[in-house]
Amino acid sequence: MADLVGAIGTSHIPAVGVAIDKGRTQDDYWKPYFDKLPPAREWMAKVSPDVCIVVYNDHASAFSLELIPTFALGMAERFGIADEGFGKRPVPDVMGHPELAWHLAESLILDEFDMTLVNEMEVDHGLTVPLSVAYGQPDAWPCKVIPLAVNVVQYPPPTGNRCFRLGQAIRRAIDSYPGDERIVIFGTGGMSHQLQAQRAGLINEAWDARFLDLLVNDPEAAALIPHIEYLREAGSEGIELVMWLIMRGAMNPDVKEIYRATHVPTSNTHNGLLVLENA
């Protein structure tokens, strides 16, 4: 069977992609954040996954208000890079894993998670920035990628509990896959941030720290955090953190925290990074 070898939680801040693409990572503003990445990158190099399942959200790139899937699974051989309004990021196209993606789709739907299946889709910073965080600037991404796009733009996003249960179902699907692929699952977005209106710039480090502690040590409790708490305490865009619960749900109930780093500020955001292995 396939092997889920670990998990990464990371913010997916577009400015991080810009800093990497434009060679600014050693600037005064950026260096303190990028100095925190090596342990996570070394871990990725060590576990060397064949496939990454990247849980992220599309930011009005592949999906507009015309069509709003709550959970959309990318089935394609290849995913192009989206122009989000200011040109495409100069990063490699993302290669998919259709065989595993179809196994996930069949397993999840029969497990009562009604996924939307996407055969043609471009991916935006929500997916590519986490790959850059994990791998830097390779000529080609060193793993296949299965995108799992979650709606967190149109209220209401799926509940934390639904996300956690979906993660558990993903794990059942991985465990029943006949291939021998090594898999890492990414939960992305967050942590606390608000981009909109007069409260923009909100950061709540104490709440984020508590969320990470719960996510690692008591995920069933983290899964019960209601939307109003994310919105109020972590900012209107901080609700992206529900996607980390999909990642956590896929892992064992007990996990080993390999690495944690956070940084304020990255653009408008409390930037988080977490590496987990099954205990």
């Binding site: 400015a15 009005a60 309004g85 606390s192 608000q194 909109q196 209106a197 950061i203 109020r232 500020p265």
Partner: protein, 138 residues
């Protein structure tokens, strides 16, 4: 369940629920079109003519032309969509955030470097009633 709008009590925040999505559909679909360079060029060349493609209200149309960032949210715009308009103008997300909060770029950057807008004093609309605006510094 849908009558529960507890989040309306969060100050300086427009939760993009069904009400706003219906109201702002064409603002957002217009902004979405700016993900194509050819559309950005056409919009820059003649903004008013470009907006004729969308059934916007006069107020929505004016808010787009005048770059009234907060008013666009009041009229149903969503931040990820209105950012495409800002990006078309060459703004970064941090610059857009400064404009929305009514401070200079330098002042906004200074707030973020100082740890961001604190949560204390910024949870409920009642906390803003006395000051008239958000607490910027803890």
């Amino acid at each position: 369940m849908t009558a529960d709008r507890e989040y309306d009590d969060i100050p300086g925040t427009f939760v993009f629920d069904g009400r706003r999505s219906r109201q702002g559909y064409w603002i957002n679909q217009f902004c979405m079109s700016l993900r194509h360079e050819a559309n950005r060029e056409a919009f820059r060349a003649d903004e008013a003519a470009y907006l004729d493609r969308y059934p916007l209200t006069a107020e929505q149309r004016d808010a787009i032309l005048q770059r009234e960032w907060i008013h666009l949210l009041e009229l149903g715009g969503n931040i990820y969509y209105t950012f495409k308009l800002a990006a078309c103008d060459g703004l970064t997300f941090q610059q857009l955030a400064a404009k929305q909060t009514g401070v200079s770029e330098e002042e906004y950057l200074g707030m973020m470097l100082g740890g961001g807008r604190p949560i204390d004093g910024n949870r409920r609309t009642s906390e803003w009633a006395t000051t008239g605006e958000g607490a910027n510094h803890g």
